[in-house]
Symmetry: C2
Subunit: 703 residues, 2 copies
């Protein structure tokens, strides 16, 4: 049900120095736009009269252009509007989303050059989005951005949950610190990665989650990152001002632009209630509506796979240890000696298909099925994979038929090894191969440095590549889950076949030495602001040495916590990552994973403190059942939650999967207790979560 | 008729310091390979006992590897062989080519690292080719070349015909100077270009043509440049040693290598007779035999086109002047105002088709037929063309049918504007479009800086792109004529659909200010050593202001010279570049262009002095007719040529197109005289060529 009311009022305002004011629909936020005496454009943001963002500069530094677009502006036009509609996403945390904002678009003209620049502000009840627009004009068509000059001036030395600013990866653990401490903590925040490039000792990534001294939560991010380079933030820690820092191309330039065009939106969400940050749909609302006419082929999916066994080192992606240097089309795998550890064999894949069918999973992902894994990593190899040639022990057709017979979908894996031109060269063939063999979703990966060499994972031209893949996949009715790609910025509203991304530190790092125990209490406030994450939870065996004696990693979570993640880490794609044998040991706990849906009609954020705890309740899109998840940080914690979101007058049966009394992510992660009780919307539950623990509750309507 | 005699003898030689000697089949050349006391590999070349190349170093500098591959070698194996065969090219300067050499392959092992490197030498009767081979080994698989360390130590301060070393263009006029003068003349040798990047004030390109003080002609080049970066030469002008200088990628690295692989061949052709340089087929012989099974679709072609009128500025490629910023798929050309100067209109193209049909030309090239030309140049634009969307006034199907009805082939134009990823994204569609509409050849272009930005026209990955296009074109049975791409290195033996390149300063520069009057007396010794050039000669109106009053360029050649180029500038693709109206004014001279073939069974080089004059005689592949061409430099010149190449006992009718007595490229370029006479193989002709002039002779068998 969409209600659109749009009122456009054009007011010519030729006075400089007076602020143009904009208020949010409920009047709580106010945005002031202003031009200084020297014609420098600034904006400021207030919540209930109190500064959230101090006056902050806007503009662009242009390459080979001393004047640039940073001052000497006058306001030549002002257009105001409002927008209020409900729209329905193809999949999501809710089945209807409200898009309600007041808008102000200011047209600036640079006096000396006559160049025009528009800044469009949309003020929502939860915060501000703004973007730059370059209208068609002869004074400015082709230009190169040296740096965007967008500032976010903080009102104080806030506490932030941050990861180091980087052109190539987001796979860091978060650090919680004051802004003034970022510099001294930067080096220790840096863990190693296959591809990483920092730019400043006070550089951080978005979305950035902060909390002021007086309890205001502030989130900075961007929306609709299309044909532009990714924005990191560089903190001036003398003045507590964040400056936009775009990702350079191989020549050090920050953007190759052609007017007319619009920049991505820069977003500021703020509230004294942390739950409002999560409840905001601003990122989605700032993206264009769905561009795909037919979306019937796009379906959320719960899956298992041949993956964790390779991540832990129990199996290998590679088929053989005989070939140190693969040349696709020349290397004859039939002549090599199998290493006996290859995960993706027909036999083993069938076992996973059986497991999926038995337990009602939609799909099976298989990595390591295709030729080239013997030397795929760390060589910046160009022709690394062809995406269509299986290993001798992976029978494509046999697996295709077996999966079909069991009602299970195979999920394709396209590891590109960062070799983007090679992937594009093979893309049509690879997608046709998928169509021919019943694969309708692909997990893609960009591990290692990007080729063309010199570009970064987050450069403009590589962001263009990820978008190219999404759009071409839609032509083939294929869903894409891109790992190591750019973190999402809501584009899945426009292209809902973009069904997932990793683009953050996922569960795999628990097998690479572990992640912080409060990691999943942070991610929804940072990485997930732009879109869902294929976090691949559901690990039940925390002691990785039990899978692979050479791997001493410990998964820093309890089983109850792992169950909760299916609720707290929103994704239309959910993997039960662990091996069937580990699930078989805890089938009672596994039941929650089987029951939890992957598509929702309503979401309620019950309680939240970024870095500490998060409790969410969601209603299944396809039934009247509700599911609750709590993920907990380092401190054992008890709290009461109210089930008042349940429907009045209805009776439900709740199954509670909770940490046992002595559970602990480190010392006793597999201790859980399952209990049942009847509940109604009047019920209050007193829950205790272990350190690194949590709980999961399925609430089934009693008919 | 192929005669292959291969003798392989393996000799183990564990002594260092002793030279391994190799002789050419006729014994005139000797190559000495040697390892110094410190295990540095060197080679030297002698002609009849006299040094041609002084001992010169071999090897590689490897990135992040202090040891590199420059010394500490020992010889662990030596393999010798010989090869003697005749093979037949699909098209060429002759229908049978002799490939006769003695070979020596030395296997070197680096003592400290155990890494192996092979250097393979092939010594022909006209000179030396050698390359590096990295065998499969675990000690060295993936590595990055910091710089190749191949030297060519000159025996003296030779005279050279050179152009500035550059990573992006070859479109320079040649400078003739001593090697010691290169440094002081470098700046003045640099003319401006849409994309150019020099690296050293003594850097020069290959092939490099030199002449020693005692009259020895020496040519340096490379053959089979595949998956490697282009080699320029950097002159150490203290010691007169040329050092290999590879083209860097965006990060400054010179090659991303994976063993096993082979480098391109480095070639040294030397003779006291300049004609032997031209007669050498070493570049072709060092390339792999033809890889295409079916070559029946590959045909040499003589063509006219809609092109010179845009080059001179008489017409425009662009359709409208209304659109400063084109967005393909969004810009609606039907709504714009045609600029009235668009060259590629259906009406005008039909005129060219009529002209082609009337005068027996095979094809018509049309540039500016497709959307995007309004802002294609100088913006490093990514999505610049889509290669399938015509302008409103170019009716693809109407032109297709008209050409078919007239027995004329349309030739496609794919200007990429350097945007290589964009071209690859559209390649299949573009080639299918050609198949669907009767185009079997495409002229491609790479004007402007290469995208991905930071790469160069001659970087390894862009050379990989050109090769990718050639190979994909072969799949579609399409011939490719690539302009602004890498200069050829004989790969057309392997892929004979690579029917042409420009990749040097072509005729268009005569309309951009003019080229030196002796330019075409040099190109066959430099640019054409690696393969044919689409020089597009045949300009009859030298005063460009007559076509476009705003263009004061003068074509620095006489009409007789322009006719000669169809013989002296070998190419299976020959354009009659000028406008029909200019040919119509000189139809008697035009007759030569109509008569001259584009495929040959035999070629004789009658006389040659690089930079001064060149006279060539060729026999038509499809008849007993011969054609002679002379191109002359700055000095008016008389010389006698003998027609003793004609068949004994046969009678011929010769039509001679010569400069008039007072002809001169500058003051009187259109003055020519046509005469007829009966000739036999006993005839001697005394010919006079004007400055910048020449002559063309068709010799038709009298039956």
């Amino acid at each position: 049900m969409k209600k659109i009311a749009v009122i456009l009022v054009v007011v010519l305002n030729l006075f400089n120095g007076y602020a143009q004011k904009l208020k949010s629909p409920n009047g709580a936020f106010e945005m002031d736009f202003s031009l200084s005496k020297s014609g420098e454009p600034t904006y400021a943001l207030y919540l209930k009269g109190k500064e959230v963002i101090k006056p902050s500069k806007l503009g662009f530094y242009i390459k080979d252009d001393k004047k640039s677009l940073v001052n000497d502006f006058e306001l030549i036009n002002e257009a105001r509007g409002a927008h209020n509609e409900m729209w329905n996403p193809v999949w999501g945390e809710e089945s209807a989303i409200k898009n309600h904002y007041n808008e102000l678009a200011v047209t600036l003209k640079q006096k000396e050059t006559n160049r025009k620049l528009i800044v469009r502000f949309r003020l929502f009840d939860e915060g501000l989005g703004f973007r730059y627009e370059f209208p068609e004009q002869k004074e400015l068509i082709y230009f190169i951005i040296k740096e965007e000059r967008t500032e976010f001036a903080m009102t104080g030395d806030h506490t932030a949950l941050w990861i180091p600013g980087d052109y190539d990866t987001q796979e860091y653990d978060y650090t919680e610190s004051k802004l003034s401490e970022i510099r001294s903590l930067f080096k220790s925040a840096l863990t190693s990665n296959a591809s990483q490039t920092q730019f400043s000792e006070t550089g951080v990534q978005t979305s950035l989650m902060m909390k002021s001294a007086d309890g205001l939560y502030i989130n900075l991010h961007e929306a609709a990152l299309i044909n532009y380079s990714l924005m990191n933030l560089d903190l001036d820690d003398k003045n507590m001002v964040f400056k936009s820092h775009l990702t350079p191309d191989a020549r050090g330039d920050k953007g190759h632009m052609q007017a007319p065009f619009t920049s991505p939106w820069r977003t500021i969400i703020a509230s004294y209630d942390a739950r409002d940050i999560l409840a905001s749909r601003m990122t989605l609302n700032l993206n264009d509506p769905c561009k795909l006419e037919d979306t019937s082929w796009i379906k959320p999916v719960k899956y298992v796979g041949v993956w964790w066994e390779m991540i832990t080192g129990k199996s290998s992606w590679a088929y053989t240890d005989d070939v140190p240097s693969v040349q696709l089309g020349i290397t004859d795998y039939a002549k090599t000696k199998p290493n006996g550890k290859h995960g993706a064999t027909t036999k083993h894949v069938k076992e996973l298909i059986d497991f999926a069918a038995l337990h009602g999973f939609d799909g099976v992902l298989v990595e390591g099925w295709n030729q080239g894994w013997e030397d795929w990593f760390g060589h910046e190899k160009d022709y690394v994979f062809d995406f269509v040639s299986p290993y001798p022990d992976f029978n494509v057709v046999e697996i295709e038929n077996y999966a079909k017979s069991k009602g299970v979908k195979m999920i394709m894996h396209h590891e590109t090894s960062g070799s983007t031109r090679n992937y594009e060269r093979h893309l049509d063939k690879a997608f046709r191969f998928m169509n021919d063999h019943g694969y309708d979703a692909a997990k893609t990966g960009y591990v290692g440095n990007i080729l063309p060499l010199g570009e970064h994972h987050y450069s403009q031209s590589i962001i263009n590549h990820y978008q190219f893949v999404i759009e071409k996949a839609a032509d083939y009715k294929i869903m894409i889950n891109a790992h190591e790609a750019v973190r999402p910025t809501g584009i899945y509203r426009t292209y809902p076949n973009m069904i997932g991304n990793e683009s953050a530190r996922g569960t795999e790092f628990q097998a690479f030495g572990g992640s912080k125990a409060n990691h999943t209490t942070i991610l929804p406030f940072t990485r997930l602001i732009g879109g869902p994450m294929d976090y691949t939870p559901g690990v039940f065996e925390m002691d990785i040495a039990k899978l692979n004696p050479d791997n001493n990693s410990h998964v820093n979570a309890t089983i109850a916590n792992q169950l909760a993640l299916y609720v707290t880490m929103y994704s239309p794609l959910q993997m039960a990552a662990d091996l069937p044998e580990n699930y078989n040991r805890f089938l009672d706990a596994f039941q929650f994973i089987k029951d939890v849906p992957v598509d929702w009609s309503t979401t309620k954020y019950l309680e939240a403190e970024p870095g500490y705890y998060l409790t969410i309740a969601r209603k299944d899109k396809n039934s009247n059942n509700w599911f609750v998840g709590n993920t907990n940080g380092y401190n054992k914690r008890s709290a009461t939650i109210s089930l008042d979101f349940l429907e009045k007058g209805k009776k439900y049966e709740a199954t509670i999967y909770a940490d046992a009394k002595d559970a602990d992510y480190k010392t006793n992660p597999q201790a859980y207790v399952i209990s049942n009780q009847k509940v109604t919307n009047k019920t209050k539950l007193k829950m205790t979560s272990a350190a690194g623990g949590g709980y999961a509750i399925s609430i089934v309507e009693v008919k």
